[in-house]
Symmetry: C2
Subunit: 295 residues, 2 copies
């Protein structure tokens, strides 16, 4: 199967699982609709795809991987709903559709985000996800750390401190790297690590996947900043230069150095995959996809 | 030890544990301060107290119970931070101090709530909390269900639908009971059930504690509505009749019937404790505390 088909197939599997999780009748109707608006509105589903492909390295049963991927997608979607709020990034559109607070209202959006985050943990802790409770507890711990104040939520705080308060006045490279490692890197690292947790992989395999995820996450962000600096509005489908004035890796390093670092990250990511042999070929394609993406 | 001392002692233990959880240096300073403002600002800590006392029935080691109680308090405090937001209840004061969005700002309050909720799951899934991963996974699952869209978040949605949208136009008794069972009942039920999970109690003991928690939660809410209808502003320390115009159990049932039902709930709660003999005496006092409270 071609890479793009594989990615689309994974997105379909995960979206179907998220739809089931959001399909019960125990939630108030308004809340359930807002959560479905947030979580079933398309998107590449790249993080869940990484979970499935990393789990494949260890022949993890599809159900366990898909449940875990669906939980991670709930975390990602909750973060988008809250980040879009007027008090945060104040975005009206997401994936070409009204954001949740525009389609509903602010209080519904806050609760929908809260509900999605909580649902992610419910999915991970459910016996359906994995028969071994040690695996389930490990997944919960790893995603909580990745999504919490030392990870995604902390990174969003640093980002908003820069945007709203102008702190720090002149962000260093180290500061921007820390912010990005927390805000977007942590969930991508988790996506890769999750495969190893599900597969009860040996410690050195687990750390190889964490290394891979770390390099991939940094490459993802570097490519994003390059796209923003150089991209073509028509290809990217969002306003270019939106981050103008904001410290990014590219604004600090310059385009030439940023591209050199991106190439180095690609090489490091591929090196981390070496122990897995040909089984990791799809992850190698995923690395190229991240590095070369144009949208 | 007198009941009030026991309650205060539990509050101290739990607050100390929450302080440790919030004391790391991996979170951005602003976020850590906002979370401490939210979670260390006093309060009776009644839910954590129930965890400790229910765990005591099964001689659960104090560390496990205190960690679990601290996690539950993080969930409770996150819900208060989000409920106080301008888009929700728009409250400026909480426990006599500025709410988080007043002391900081809205985006910080949203992230502080998100961080507290995520931290709760990190605590529950940590091996320090309990050596048995099956117990940790069970706790995560139970709290996620209690706090999620079929529980607390769902109840808050129903409450705001009534407040902001006037839906339903004339709430039935069943609707108000469902709302309260979700919004406040679910976490109280979890607090009691947590003791049984930690103690790996027999199924009939677990269900006795869930029954107890269910009756206690309903009594708690009935007493709250009676206080609001009849209370003395000086004793209660908050505006009386704040809920005037809002459908409550008392506005639907009337004071006399509400008091009769409260007495019946007290009797049922005490009956649920019968299997535990004298070991449950503190929980019996807790029941009277809930029924007779004047603040």
């Amino acid at each position: 199967m071609a890479f793009s088909q594989r990615l689309a197939h994974a997105a379909k599997l995960v979206e179907a699982r998220v739809a089931v999780a959001l399909g019960g009748d125990s939630a108030p109707v308004r809340l359930a609709e807002a959560m479905r608006h947030a979580a079933l509105g398309g998107g590449k589903r790249f993080r869940p795809f990484l979970v499935l492909e990393c789990a494949n390295l260890f022949d993890v049963p599809a159900t366990a991987a898909v449940h875990t991927a669906a939980a991670l997608e709930c975390v990602h979607c909750y973060s988008l709903v809250h980040d879009d709020l007027p008090a945060m990034d104040n975005d009206d559109l997401r994936r070409g559709r009204p954001t949740v607070h525009k389609a509903f209202d602010e209080w519904t959006a806050i609760l929908a985000g809260d509900g999605l985050l909580t649902l992610a943990f419910e999915i991970l802790a459910s016996p359906e996800t994995h028969a071994d409770p040690a695996v389930r507890a490990d997944l919960v711990l790893a995603v909580a750390r990745a999504a919490g104040v030392a990870g995604m939520v902390g990174g969003q705080c640093l980002d908003l401190e820069a945007d709203k308060l102008g702190v720090p006045a002149a962000p260093s490279l180290a500061h921007v790297e820390r912010l990005q490692a927390m805000k977007t890197g942590a969930l991508i690292r988790f996506a890769c690590k999750a495969g190893a947790i599900l597969g009860r992989a040996a410690p050195e395999q687990r750390s190889a996947l964490v290394d891979f995820g770390e390099r991939l996450g940094r490459a993802f962000q570097m490519a994003d900043d390059l796209l923003d600096a150089e991209g073509d509005a028509a290809t990217l489908g969002k306003a270019i230069g939106k981050d103008a004035g904001k410290a990014t890796l590219v604004s600090i390093l310059g385009v030439v150095e940023a591209k050199a670092r991106l190439a180095a990250l690609e090489a490091e990511a591929l090196a981390a995959l070496a122990p897995f042999g040909p089984k990791a070929d799809v992850l190698r394609e995923a690395t190229r996809f991240v590095v070369e993406r144009r949208s």
